[in-house]
C-alpha cells in the first residue's frame, strides 16, 4: 500500500511537470497493460506466449495442456491417433499455431508462398427474407457462398481438391505529409485462382483476414458488456464525429445476443465461440459449438461431406470434445500482455498527448476496468490498457471490404486493440498491420484510416513531423 501511495505521488508530480512540457502524464498502471496478469519476462520472440502472471501453479497445467492442443498438428481421419484426427477435409491450417505463429499476428504470404496465416472469407448477400431477418437479428453473420462456404480453404486432405488460391496485387498510392515527408500506401486487390469446385456465385463477397495476435483476449472478454455498450453512440448524438456501434451477435452457449468482441468485425462474442469457430472453419474440426464434422464443406461438395471423419464415440462424437475446447479456450484467454518497455520516455509521453489530442483515443479507448468473473479469476477486476472500445466504426472506402458481417456494414470494422502492437517485429519478424496486412508499418496503418477516423488521420498528415514521430513512438511503445 505504501508503495502505491509513493507511486501515485510520483505520478501526480510528473503530471504537473509534464503538462508544462507538452507531455502527457504517466498514469498509474499504464506500464502494466494487462493489470496483474501482465508479464514482465524477457522481450523476445516468445513475448506473446507467456501465461497470465497472476495465475496459480494449478492452472499452469491447463495452460500448458491447452498450449499442447494449440500447437497440435491434426491429421486425416481415420488414424491411430483418434484424439487428434479429423482434419478437414478442407482446411486453412493443420494447427491453431500455424496461423497464430508465436501467438502473434499473421502475415501476407510472400511471393510464391501459400497463404497460411491469412485467408479470404466468402459470402453472398442475403437472398431470402429469412436470411435477412436472421442477420438483422444478430442470429447469423453471413450467408455462405453456396459452393465454397464461409471461407476459402486453400488446402485439402489427400484425395480432395483444395478450394482455390488467394491472389493479391498491390498498387502504390503516394501520400505527401507535412515537413516534406512522404509515405506510400499499397492498395491491395484480391482475386481467387485455381477454383477447385467450379465457378463462384456471381454476387460473391470476399474479405481478406490476417490472424490477429492472441494476447489479452480473456481480459477483453472480462470487460462488462454494459460499460462497452454505454460507450456506443450510433447516431453521434454528442457530435464528435464518432459514432461507434455495438455489434451484437448470438452467443451459442449463452443463448442470447451478446457484444461481438472477437474477429475483425466482431463475429463472435466469446473466446470460446471464436476458438470453436476457428477449429471448425480453419481446421475443419467439429466441436460442441460447431458440430459439423466436415467443417466448412457445403452441400455442393459431396465427397467432402462424405469423407471419413474423426468424431469418435469415445469423444462424444466430436473431433474436438468439450474438454479440449475448454483447454484451448483457457489457453487463449490467458496469453499475457507484456509489460511496456518505455512508457515514461519523454518522447513516448509527448506521443501519448498527441494521440489523445488528435482524437485517436475516441475509439482506441485507453483503459477499462474488468468485471468480477468467478470463472476467470486471472482476468477479474483488473485495470487494463487495450486501446480499444470494441465497437464498430465506419472506416471509409479505402479500408472497406464491402462485405457486411452481421450488423457490421461493408465499411465498418471493430476497433482493434493496440496493446503489443510495437512488438510485432520482435515476435513475428514483420510489421504488417490492419485486417489484411496491407500496412507495412504503424504510419501506413494510421494513413489508411478514413470515415469516422478521417479527421484524426488528417491531423497526423499535417502535424509537425516531430509530433508525428512522437505519436508513432507512442503507439509502438504499447
Amino acid at each position: 500500500m505504501r508503495v502505491m501511495i509513493v507511486s501515485l505521488l510520483a505520478g501526480l508530480s510528473m503530471a504537473g511537470a509534464a503538462l508544462a512540457n507538452g507531455l502527457a502524464p504517466l498514469e498509474p498502471g499504464e506500464d502494466m497493460p494487462g493489470g496483474t496478469a501482465t508479464h514482465a519476462k524477457v522481450i523476445n520472440r516468445d513475448a506473446f506466449s507467456h501465461f497470465s502472471a497472476n495465475m496459480s501453479f494449478a492452472k499452469e497445467m491447463d495452460f500448458k495442456v491447452g498450449n499442447g492442443f494449440f500447437r497440435r498438428l491434426w491429421v486425416t481421419a481415420p488414424s491411430s491417433t483418434k484424439a487428434a484426427d479429423g482434419l478437414g477435409p478442407l482446411f486453412n491450417a493443420r494447427a491453431c499455431q500455424n496461423c497464430h505463429l508465436k501467438d502473434g499476428r499473421g502475415h501476407v504470404p510472400a511471393e510464391g508462398e501459400e497463404g497460411v496465416s491469412m485467408f479470404l472469407r466468402l459470402s453472398i448477400p442475403p437472398q431470402t427474407n429469412d436470411q435477412k431477418t436472421a442477420i438483422a437479428q444478430g442470429r447469423a453473420n453471413i450467408v455462405p457462398e453456396p459452393t465454397y462456404g464461409g471461407q476459402l480453404q486453400n488446402f485439402a486432405i489427400a484425395g480432395h481438391a483444395a478450394e482455390g488460391r488467394m491472389t493479391i496485387r498491390y498498387q502504390d498510392i503516394p501520400v505527401a505529409l507535412s515537413g516534406g515527408e512522404k509515405a506510400s500506401l499499397r492498395q491491395p486487390s484480391y482475386a481467387i485462382s485455381d477454383l477447385g469446385y467450379g465457378p463462384l456465385h456471381p454476387q460473391t463477397l470476399i474479405s481478406p483476414r490476417v490472424a490477429p495476435p492472441m494476447i489479452g483476449l480473456g481480459l477483453l472478454e472480462a470487460i462488462a458488456e454494459e460499460s462497452l455498450i454505454a460507450r456506443a453512440d450510433p447516431d453521434d448524438k454528442d457530435g464528435d464525429g464518432i459514432s461507434g456501434r455495438a455489434k451484437m451477435i448470438w452467443g451459442q452457449e449463452e443463448g442470447r445476443l451478446m457484444l461481438g468482441r472477437f474477429g475483425w468485425k466482431g463475429g463472435n462474442p466469446t473466446v470460446k465461440q471464436q476458438s470453436a469457430d476457428a477449429f471448425n472453419g480453419d481446421i475443419g474440426l467439429s466441436n460442441p459449438l460447431f458440430p459439423a464434422n466436415s467443417g466448412d464443406c457445403t452441400g455442393a461438395q459431396k465427397a467432402c461431406l462424405e469423407a471419413p471423419h474423426g468424431g469418435d464415440d469415445q469423444y462424444s462424437g466430436f473431433e474436438v470434445p468439450a474438454n479440449v475446447l475448454d483447454l484451448v479456450t483457457f489457453y487463449s484467454r490467458n496469453l499475457a500482455v507484456p509489460k511496456r518497455r518505455d512508457a515514461s520516455d519523454p518522447q513516448v509521453l509527448r506521443g501519448k498527448l498527441v494521440f489523445t489530442e488528435s482524437g485517436c483515443a475516441l475509439c482506441h479507448t485507453p483503459s477499462h476496468k474488468t468485471a468480477q468473473r468467478a470463472d476467470m479469476p486471472e482476468q477479474s477486476e483488473q485495470l487494463i490498457w487495450p486501446y480499444t472500445d470494441l465497437l464498430l466504426h465506419d472506416m471509409g472506402d479505402g479500408l472497406a471490404d464491402n462485405r457486411p458481417e452481421g450488423m457490421a456494414s461493408g465499411s465498418e470494422w471493430k476497433t482493434p486493440p493496440l496493446w503489443g502492437i510495437g512488438l510485432t517485429q520482435v515476435v513475428s519478424s514483420h510489421s504488417q498491420l490492419l485486417h489484411d496486412g496491407r500496412a507495412r508499418n504503424t504510419l501506413e496503418a494510421i494513413l489508411w484510416h478514413g470515415g469516422e477516423a478521417k479527421t484524426a488521420r488528417d491531423k497526423v498528415v499535417s502535424m509537425p513531423k516531430t509530433d508525428r514521430a512522437a505519436l508513432i513512438r507512442f503507439v509502438n511503445s504499447l
Partner: protein, 423 residues
Amino acid sequence: MKRFVMVAASAAVLLGTGQAGAAGVDKKAVLTTYADIAHAKYEDSLIAAKRLKVAVDALVAAPGAETLAAAKAAWIAARVPYQQSEAFRFGNASVDEWEGKVNAWPLDEGLIDYVNADTYGTESGENPLYTANIIAHPKLKVGGKSVNAGKIDKKLLGKMHEAGGVEANVTTGYHAIEFMLWGQDTNGTGPGAGNRPASDFDTKACTGGNCDRRAAYLLTATGLLVDDLKTMVDGWGAKGKIRAKLLKGKPDTGIATIVTGLGSLSYGELAGERMKLGLMLHDPEEEHDCFSDNTHNSHFYDAKGIQNVYLGKYTRTDGSEVKGPALADLVAAKDPALDGDMKAKLDTTMAAMGVLVKTAEGGEVYDQMIGAGNSAGNAKVQAAIDALVAQTRSLEKAVAVLALGEVKFEGSDSLDNPSAIGK
C-alpha cells in the same frame, strides 16, 4: 512452534552453514546453495556434452555399430544432469530464454533429414519447411527468401531454428542430436525406438544420401550444445551474471524464484505438457525423448531435480555432493509438519517415476505405456501425474507459509494493486 525453530536452526549450524538468524535459516545462504547446485548441474551437463562430442567425433571418423552405440550411450548419459537442471528454468528468466535452443521439443524432424513419408506424412503444406530436409538441400526457401545452406555450420542451424515462426522447426539442441543418432521412431505405440544405421554417416558406403552433410550436421549441433551449456556454466559461476542477479536482489524475490521454478516444472511443464497431454492423446509423438525411447529417464530426472533443489543436496556425476541450507530448511523453520509433508510428497513422486523407469527397463517403454487401450500403462503414468500435482499443492502451501504470494506477482514500477486505483 519455537522449539521447532530452534531445532531447525541448530541443524543448519551442524551442517556447517552458519548464519542461522532468529528466523531460523539465512535466506542468502539458501540462495547460495541454489546457485551452487545450478552451477554443478550445468557443469555436469557440460562435461557430459563434451563426452558426447568425443563420441560423436569417433562415430563420424569411423561409422559402425559400436561407435554409434557409444554415441547413443553418451547422449543418454548427457540427459541425466541436464534434466535435473530443468528445475532452474522457469524461475530464472535468462534460463528460460536460453532453454529453447537446447531442449526445444517437439520437433518436425523432416526439416532436418529424410523421413518415412508413410508415418510422418507430407501433408503439412502450410508449414513449408515440414519436409524441407536441410541435409539434402544446399538451397532452401524460407518465407519466400532463399537461404544458402551450402555449408552446414552453427550460423545456419541458428538461423533455421524456429524458421518461419513455427516452433516445431527445431534444428538445435538435445532432441535434434537425438534424431540424428536414432532417426525417426516409426513404431508408433508398438515396441522399438528409432533405428538409424551407422552407415548414414559413412561417406564411403553412404546410406540415406548426403552422409557428409549429415555428419556435418551432427558435429555442428553437438558443438553448439557444448557452446550453449558453457554459457550457463559461466552464468552460474562465482562471477556469473545469473548468480549475481539472484544474490543481489531482495532475498524473498530469490526464494520466490526457487519456488516458481519447482512449481512450474512440476505442474505445468512436466505433469501437464509432457505427460497429461500425451496421455490424453495416447500419441507417441507427444513423448519427450521420442526418438531414443528415453522418456522415462527424462521424466525421472526432471522430478529428481525438483527434489534435490528443495532439499539442497545434489549428487554430482562424479559422486561428490553439493549441499547447503535450502528451501526445505526455510519451510521447516516456519512449519515443520509442512516440510515433512512436502518431503513425503516428493518421495511419492520419485516412487511413481521409479515405476515408469522400471516398466521401461522391463521392455515396455513410455510410448507404449501411454498407448490407447493399455490401461495398466496409462494408470502408471497417471499415478506420476497425480503425484506431481500433489507435491505442487504442498508447494503452494509453502508459498503461503513463507509469505511469498505478493513477491511472486510483483512487477509494476507504478502500481501494486490496480483495482484500487479506480477508487
